[in-house]
Symmetry: C2
Subunit: 239 residues, 2 copies
């Protein structure tokens, strides 16, 4: 264990996506190469363009990650707090930091050197597999969440699905539905009846569905439908 | 290279999050343990509860991943197509598959054994680091996207931010803003003026902001605001 890491802090580390599936032995092994640092408000944690040799976990406080723009402004890329990792993308990729990190409150930050992580992985590749497993599962959950959030109306959702299958970016397009309608409905989180209703509504936007074939008469019109706000769509459907 | 992998297929593999940052040597090394399989429509690729010893990449067609529910129904967990990985969460975690995988169209699927992946990582831990880097960066992008999508009106966004800082789940709550208002605005993707306007609107919902302190007079009322649909909020703001 690194210098005086509290047991509550160790517990928190077990919840973050990157370390979630590590065995307690593997976590202990990894934390032997960790350094706990107290950083004062306004202090820099790392600088843009420096070689990324460690990644960080916030134990307490708030950290801002930002990029200096060519005009001299600051673009805030992320703000991280308790239990979140930052800068690991660059560190694992063995590149320079594309951003700077600064404490915006007094902070406690844990830094784990990539050399130590690589050594741990060499000794036990299961450490890497467990970390990759957590990241993959977290990623899938986020993708599902985004799919749900993106879906404005049912008709928009179905239109987006059809456009993803469409090889044309303008004019008309004829395509084969890749699998049956019950599964399409399931994938889009809709009931089969709602899918039928959505297909009905899409007729007004030039979409003809017959068995497993869909014909889009005007790809750009359908794209516009997808991009419209929910309220506008509801209005045009009533009209 | 595995049996007759097309160069267009190899190119596609370089674009998926899991393999994006691998050097071409590392990718070649990994693909030496890959098996390309043609799977017919309706054929099973793997079964729920089997030991997960490989993960998969779709090269062509559509794959359905589903779970048999206790009532005998099928819950579709995901549908994957060209360039997407599936079942890697279970495979990397060295557990049994929590789901089954079935080809819903004729498919071409690449399977990579975890034993081979672990061997490659042992020989070169940078392979694992590159894979973890890609996954981490992809994850951050998705989190940013979700933050954007979740944000209904500006007032709702700010209310959500305040509620996350609040330690009470009902009654009133007094809290210190963790960093300055310009940074709060930046983090929420708003201009400082919009943040001020949002604070103004939140007064109608019992929120008082003075310097770096916010007082929420009724936490549950604020939670209701966050959960309301955009249209409802707009209505109550006009009232």
């Amino acid at each position: 264990m690194p210098n005086n890491l509290l047991s509550s802090e160790v517990e928190k580390l077990g919840e973050i996506p990157l370390l979630k599936r590590l065995s307690s032995e593997a976590r202990e092994q990894l934390l032997q190469g960790a350094t706990k640092k107290h950083v004062s408000r306004g202090e820099m944690i790392f600088f843009q363009d420096d070689k990324a040799e460690a990644f960080f976990i916030v134990l307490e406080g708030w950290v801002k990650v930002f990029r200096a723009t060519s005009s001299g402004d600051e673009a805030v890329v992320g703000v991280f707090t308790r239990g979140q990792t930052f800068a690991e993308g660059a560190a694992f990729a063995n590149t320079n930091f594309p951003v700077s990190g600064e404490a915006v409150t007094d902070c406690v930050v844990l830094s784990i050197s990539v050399a130590h992580l690589a050594g741990s992985i060499s000794a036990d590749p299961n450490i890497a597999l467990a970390m990759m497993s957590s990241l993959s599962m977290h990623l899938h959950q986020l993708v599902l969440q985004i799919e749900g959030l993106k879906t404005h109306t049912g008709a928009q959702r179905v239109a987006e699905f059809l456009l993803n299958l469409c090889t044309e970016s303008s004019g008309s397009c004829s395509l084969i539905l890749p699998y049956d309608k019950a599964l399409i409905a399931g994938r889009l989180g809709m009931k089969p009846e709602s899918l039928s209703r959505a297909f009905q509504k899409l007729k007004g936007f030039g979409v003809e569905v017959k068995q497993n074939r869909a014909i889009i008469s005007n790809v750009q019109m359908l794209q516009m439908l997808v991009e419209q706000e929910r309220t506008v769509v509801m209005h045009s459907q009533q009209a």
